[in-house]
Amino acid sequence: MTEGRYLVDAPLAPPTATQGLLEVFRRRYLLKLLVRREINARYSGSFLGLIWSYINPLTQLFIYTFIFVLVLGRDRTENFAIHVFCGLIVVHFFTETFNAGTRSIVRNKALIRKMALPKEMFPVASMMVSLFHVAPQVVILLVAVLIIGWAPSGLGIAAFFLALGIIMALGTGLALMFSVANVYFRDFASVVNILTNFVRFGVPMIYPYSIVDERFGDAAAYYLWNPLSNAVLLVQRAFWVGTTEDPEKTMLTEMPDAMFSRGLVMLGVAVVVLLLGQWVFRRFENKIPERLT
């Protein structure tokens, strides 16, 4: 009846064909809406709204200052609250990405079961939401270090972005892997929760790196195989080192050597984890819609 006069200028292709993470990047507009939806939904029905994303880290900063500086009297490390807070930014960013990303597929089952879209969108969107929450924390940190007398440096800023890059790739990669695992067995969300509990203590946050170096000697090198520890150290390099009396000396006594080259290697490791996560995700994603009941 109407055949022949309406021809579609598109190839005949499987409707499921996507290029995974590349597709997510290609459909940035959808990603943006998903991220915005997530942020709006989190603060919907709340009077203070986004202000909560400032209150939360601010109270943490006060708590750590109070406990470690006033109660425990940690005078071994200068500006210990800043030291802790630098670590906290990394740890929060990572655990939020990992936890929320792992749950993201199951949480968005209404959408995934009914519409065709690259499912990698959801773990990536979780990472972006967590990244969005890094901003207020950095603002608070900046205000604090500027009061103490910190001056920005190019290397410091580079260190900060290197740390962010490590966490972004690592967090997304792990979230991809565990989000699909969580569809098969919801146990994985609990596993991830436990794993992230370790993160807090596995990085030089509530203790300085120099203690690790002292206690473990040569074995401290293994400690530095953890990309998260490196990210924490890089952020401390960016913000905390500059607040100490003698930054040059702090670099020597408190920070490991070759931070940048090790950081770059860790970024490489994180990217490998990301690619591995993508591979695992693609391997198992076919069964996602029917498992989401």
Binding site: E3, P11, P15, T16, R37, R113, K114, A116
Partner: protein, 267 residues
Amino acid sequence: MTSALSNPNSYPPETSIVVENVTKTFSLRYHRTFKQVTVAKFRGQKTKDDFNAVDDVSFTVKQGESIGLMGLNGSGKSTLLTLINGTMKPDSGQVLTRGRIAGLIATGAGFHPQLSGRDNIYLNAAVFGLTEEETKDRFDDIAGFADIGRHLDSPVGNYSSGMSSRLGFAIAINVDCDIFLADELLAVGDKPFKRKCMAKMEEVRDSGRTLFYVSHAAGSVRRMCDRVLVLENGRLGFDGDVDEGIKYLHYDSDDENNDDDELGADV
């Protein structure tokens, strides 16, 4: 996957949808927790049981055809539709489609309950592949078609099922697609809305787009479609003329009803 799959280029340019030996297997899971699985293994019971929701189905659709997909409840209609729309991948065989696909798989597809109707329009349209500008251009048409008035700015979670399906349909129908899938979409709408939908779908059909229409109502299938597929327990039982397809399903006893009542029989 078998090696017998055809090359997409071997189909003529007017081919819109190819479904080739497609099988989709679901498992009925008997035992889920560690304890249940262990006990079942110990007793020698099955821990899982598979069934084919879609079983070796093959057909091709030319651009501009309108297909009525019929079958009893649980015969695999929605599963077949999700395979065509790309939400699921077949376990064997292949599905090929040409151009943009829009439509509804069941009613009220993929809304976020905490977001307003307005935000959901943007989100849903983006899932169908529309850009921000395209959505803005169509926004008035969508809002006008859904016709839910002031509720557009309240959270979709507060909508009645009729309202959210109106919104879902309004978005899907206003996407410039090449293939439109409609899965029992008239099940919850009121009569004036059903009539509006039918008129709009006829418009879509007459514009030369491929239409895939799932319905239990013989009358509306007869009105909308020029070909009927009947699924029986996941297998393609019938493929051909509309009247014969309806007869095949023994749905032709609805015949004496007038048009409106047939639409009502969609429920």
